[in-house]
Symmetry: C2
Subunit: 103 residues, 2 copies
């Protein structure tokens, strides 16, 4: 079974607006979103993605750490499986990732 993505450890606060969801916009949109979160004072930013966007989530985390917020560290990475309902009433499983960055 997938580990619950709701149980967070110490220092891995889920503040509602410190999560950046990776979609299909240009990569730098998400890099900037993460950097902005750190710049407004967040010590933890969570990068979330599902399906094919998972690779981009890793790219975003790496670009942020290597180029923009070099003191940021990967605190934890979690993977899971989410069930997405389809229009025809069936459902598909899709993988997900959460990358916890802290500075």
């Amino acid at each position: 079974m997938a580990r619950s993505l709701d149980a967070v450890g110490p220092g891995l606060e889920r503040l509602g607006n410190n999560t950046v969801y990776i979609g299909k916009k240009p990569m730098m949109t998400y890099v900037l979103a993460v950097v902005s979160q750190f710049n407004v004072g967040s010590e933890n930013v969570i990068i979330k993605a599902r399906g094919k966007s998972i690779s981009r989530a890793v790219d975003v985390a790496e670009i942020v750490r290597n180029r923009y917020v070099t003191q940021a560290q990967v605190r934890e990475i979690r993977i899971g499986t989410e069930r997405l309902p389809e229009e025809d009433g069936t459902s598909t499983n899709v993988s997900s990732i959460e990358i916890f960055l802290s500075k």
Copy 2:
């Protein structure tokens, strides 16, 4: 900087042939490779991928855990950046992932 992918913690043995590299073959090829590693007695299997294959690495880990080796757990997930040389002498950065599964 990317964390070194060579430093492994206790129980995260790198035995040479317990690593499954994710490429462009059908997904079940890699699922079977991981399941086979566990079946021949490995307690740890490492799933590695770069670039766009990262999403598939997560899919493989989730399918193995949810359907085939339900006692397998994700021990650690590491991400990094690798520099790939291009034919024209330049180089590109590509993200990488390592998923450590243990049973």
